[in-house]
């Protein structure tokens, strides 16, 4: 899990302005100190890719990257992200060019209902950032905190390994 910055300078009680970077753009949000990063992304910024499934850090559907490291955004306060960089699934593809992981998920049918998919993808993206040649075991570790109720797991592993191979060739 990523390093979660201290929030001490932002304690409320009322809403405060928080400046952070989201998908490469600087944004400022006005949020109460108890508001999670997940709710801030979804409700304030309209980035609904990250999903709210358990809202208590048990499923991984809300996974985003904070300074490049995967975090459960439902367990991360928005005020704690001040001055930091957040990346969501919406930030992965530039124009019509998909990220390697996204392409591999489509090619390997690594989703069914797709509700856990943004979280799975962000966990895989984080893996490929820190490990250029992951093994199957590395993939299992990377997404072991992401539940999929449809059972797309075998294809998720295949997709992650295939994307890693493609990345190595580039």
């Amino acid at each position: 899990m990523g390093r979660v910055p201290k929030a001490s300078s932002y304690i409320g009680p009322g809403a405060v302005d928080v400046a952070l970077e989201v998908n490469g753009d600087g944004v400022s949000v006005h949020v109460p100190p108890h508001r999670t990063l997940l709710d801030t992304l979804r409700e304030t910024l309209g980035l609904t890719g990250a999903k709210r499934v358990c809202d208590e850090g048990m499923c991984g559907a809300c996974t985003v990257l904070l300074d490049g490291e995967p975090v459960y955004s439902c367990m991360t306060l928005a005020v704690a992200c001040a001055g930091h960089s957040v990346e969501t699934v919406e930030g992965l593809s530039k124009d019509t060019n998909l990220h390697l992981i996204q392409e591999a998920f489509i090619e390997h049918d690594a989703f069914q209902c797709g509700f856990c998919t943004p979280g799975q993808i962000m966990s895989c993206v984080a893996l490929l950032k820190r490990n250029a040649a992951p093994t199957g075991e590395d993939v299992l570790r990377a997404v072991s905190g992401n539940l999929c109720r449809c059972g797309a797991y075998p294809n998720i592993v295949a997709a992650a390994l295939s994307a890693a191979k493609k990345q190595a060739r580039r």
């Binding site: 709210r52 919406e90 489509i106 209902c113 072991s144 109720r149 059972g151 075998p154």
Partner: protein
């Protein structure tokens, strides 16, 4: 007009229903194996893949309308109580709270046989007591705790086997147990008397929670008289019917939408109380209203797979199964129906003497709802273990024993011939892939001294024929692209992709030129996405709609190109005649802004034939005899479902079914505290759904043989088959490994250790 009304019988989830439908024209001849299909039968990636991997796919949960209010529901903390008084004054005083509904102020709203959605007597922990709307979800969550309720506590019973006892608290005037299914053939009494070996055993299965990742929920908005509801549902038309019944408004004033949805597995079959609450609040308060369940609420009040208590008595005469008696009790909670676990016993094997009874048991717990092959998973867990127990007793290989009872080409229940049954072929493939020859009656050594290895298998029977009514329209644009509109929904099974393949194939277009629009009651009717019936119900109608569009296109082309229509065909987006190709756009473009609209309807199934799906699962496991842990090493899943339209998405379905079955048999169990009736693990930490680390090697095989008697695309359903035999196959493999049988699902470490201690 060449329109006919047809009345037909069809099977859904083991029940026979009557359907009336309208059909137009004539059905198409089925595609055969030699039809030279270019798009159908190929593993195309999903047409909605980009939307799903970029976060652009909009689920109901992702809808935030301007000014939208949020609802939280106050739920009963008691398993049974009378609601004597509700005082919402403290809640209403909180800034941002806009309204409260409860039994003393809510308008009448018929819901599943009752007149109101807030009962005077709450009947399980989690039953709806009041609902509150506020500006934000946080405010609603805070305020709902300020509603004061005066309860009069009533006696209850929160356990299946406790509720079955004669001295149990009676929850209804008729008692807690009612007969829900009965079947007999032959003479079991005589058969057991004359049998050489009789085995009796009791099996139990636990309550399984769906835990769809998108919880149940809806967003409602009124524009004048028009109510629009976005709902995470498997049946937009079912939601519409529920709203009409509850609110007494005409269909023309209701539109229900579901574009993307995050899993249902049977539990999202129609309007929920949240739908009605959101709609009532939205009308009263003049704003869009959203009501979504939290994860905890989802696991209390949104359905479950019934726990069962089953007894099986099975007898052999020589080396054949001679008779079977299967009795089953299912915990329906506060449900109004119950699934039938004895279906497989009645119809799967060719056994001369059969007697089954199933019973519905009411308890002070949340209602069941359909969960992927309801009844059949639980029933097969008992049936296929009992067969292995008998095989062990008579010293026979369990697969060899099954083979003697699996060849029959006639449905033993109806006496009708099967359209196609390739169960023996499933056995052959499965046995080869798993290496069945390595199985020893006493199990084998595992990969370590404290590990034992075992093999097991089980068979699958299910319907999946599909049936009318289902309708579709194909809109062919002047530029040669097409839009399919159909009232079905894609719940993650790949419906959009499969239907696009059917349109592209029949109409002669590239797959990328077909857009599929589903999940909207503005389209024509399609059935619930459940019961493994979507492809086989909707697919044939879609193919007919595409064919109708093609014929109209050729008629138009004939006039414009001055060639007889019969000399023209459509191929990869072009009209082709002898020596000439003209792009569709060039032809239709000559008529200004004309859209060809092709219509299609689902024709009835043949009446004198039995349409079923079959399959078999084989499992190789190791069991650690020190810890009781079961390690699943390899699963082979073989299914006989007619034509496979898309092998890529079909394989995903099978893997998903296998993995849900693994959860059912190894880890998933709702735990209820009997003294208080509370669910103790209604969350994703305490309730163990499989993670990626629980997944073994899975080999998927299909008998890809089109069922040309079934319908014009030759396909049957696949949603449910892959969960049905898996739990029994695992249980049989565990028993083979350790020489002692665990008859309760899930087969936890504790239960394995208990069984090992009981070993003689």
């Amino acid at each position: 007009m060449n329109i006919k009304v047809v009345r037909t019988k069809a099977e859904i989830e083991g029940r026979i229903i009557e359907a009336t439908a309208l059909v137009e024209g004539r059905d198409l001849a089925p595609w055969g194996t030699d039809s030279g299909l270019a798009i159908v039968g190929k593993g195309h990636p999903r047409v909605d893949g980009i939307a799903r991997v970029t976060g652009r796919a909009q689920y109901t949960q992702d809808l935030y309308l301007p000014g939208m209010l949020h609802v939280r529901v106050l739920r009963s903390p008691y398993p049974r109580a009378r609601v004597r008084r509700v005082d919402a004054s403290r809640a209403l005083a909180l800034p941002g709270v806009r309204g409260v509904l409860h039994r003393f102020n809510a308008p009448k709203a018929a819901f599943r046989g009752e007149e109101t959605i807030f009962r005077d007597e709450v009947r399980f922990v989690g039953d709806e007591v009041a609902a509150l709307a506020a500006d934000t979800e946080e405010t609603a969550a805070d305020a709902v705790r300020l509603i004061d309720v005066d309860y009069e506590l009533l006696p209850f019973v929160a356990d299946l086997e406790e509720a079955m006892r004669d001295d149990a608290t009676r929850l209804t005037e008729k008692g807690n147990v009612t007969e829900s299914g009965t079947y007999e053939r032959g003479d079991t009494k005589r058969a057991f008397a004359e049998a050489s070996v009789v085995v009796e055993a009791t099996y139990r299965t636990s309550t399984q929670l769906h835990n769809s990742l998108e919880t149940h929920g809806a967003v409602a908005r009124w524009d004048g008289d028009l109510l629009t509801v976005w709902e995470s549902t498997q049946h937009v038309f079912g939601v519409r019917a529920g709203l009409q019944a509850a609110l007494k408004i005409p269909y023309s004033d209701i539109r229900v939408l579901c574009d993307y949805m995050g899993g249902g597995f049977g539990s999202k079959g129609g309007a929920g109380k949240y739908t009605i609450v959101a709609s009532i609040f939205a009308r009263q308060l003049g704003k869009p209203v959203r009501c979504f369940l939290t994860r905890d609420e989802e696991n209390l009040a949104a359905g479950n797979r019934s726990a069962t208590y089953q007894t099986v008595k099975i007898a052999a005469k020589g080396k054949r199964i001679h008779a079977i008696e299967h009795l089953s009790w299912s915990n329906s909670g506060q449900g109004r129906w119950v699934a039938d676990p004895t279906g497989p016993t009645n119809g799967l094997y060719d056994i001369p003497h059969v007697r089954t009874r199933s019973y519905k048991v009411v308890t002070s717990l949340g209602a069941l709802s359909a969960f992927r092959a309801p009844g059949y998973v639980e029933g097969t867990f008992a049936l296929d273990q009992a067969i292995d127990e008998l095989a062990d007793r008579i010293g026979e290989d369990p697969l060899a024993l099954r083979r003697r009872h699996a060849a029959l080409q006639t449905d033993p229940v109806t006496g009708m011939r099967y359209s196609l049954k390739r169960l023996l072929a499933c056995y052959d493939i499965g046995a080869k892939e798993i290496g069945w020859q390595h199985r020893k009656p006493e199990g084998t050594r595992g990969s370590a001294p404290h590990r034992r290895r075992g093999y097991g298998m089980a068979s699958q029977l299910w319907g999946g024929s599909g049936f009318p009514p289902a309708y579709a329209t194909v809109h062919l644009n002047p530029d040669g692209t097409a839009v399919l509109r159909c009232g079905t929904q894609d719940i993650g099974t790949g419906t959009r992709t499969v239907l696009a393949q059917l349109v592209a194939e029949e109409l002669g277009l590239a797959l990328g030129d077909v857009r599929v629009e589903l999940g909207d009651t503005s389209s024509q009717y399609a059935p619930i996405s459940a019961g493994s019936l979507t492809v086989s119900s909707v697919g044939p109608a879609v193919r007919l709609a595409a064919k109708d569009a093609r014929m109209q296109l050729l008629d138009a082309a004939s006039g414009l190109l001055e060639v007889g229509a019969t000399e023209l065909r459509v191929e990869r987006g072009a009209i082709v005649s002898t020596g000439r190709r003209t792009q569709i756009g060039e032809v239709l473009g000559q008529i200004e802004n004309y859209t060809v609209i092709g219509k299609g309807s689902r024709f009835p199934n043949p009446e004198d034939i039995s349409l079923k799906t079959f399959g078999a699962h084989f499992a190789q496991v190791e069991v650690d005899v020190r810890t009781g842990e079961v390690f699943v090493e390899h699963i082979v899943a073989v299914h006989d479902i007619g034509r496979v339209i898309n092998p890529l998405t079909a394989a995903s379905q099978v893997e998903g079914g296998v993995i849900q079955g693994l959860g059912f048999v190894l880890s998933e169990e709702r735990v209820v505290d009997r003294p208080t009736g509370r669910v103790l693990n209604g969350n994703l930490e305490g309730y163990k759904v499989p993670t990626i680390r629980d997944v073994p090697k899975i080999t998927v095989r299909f008998i890809d043989d089109p069922d040309t008697k079934a319908n014009n695309i030759g396909a049957k359903g696949l949603g449910e088959p892959p969960i049905i035999p898996l739990p029994a196959a695992i249980a049989n493999a565990v028993a083979n490994a350790i020489g002692v049988r665990v008859r309760t699902a899930p087969i936890t470490r504790q239960r394995v250790l208990e069984a090992l201690e009981l070993r003689p």
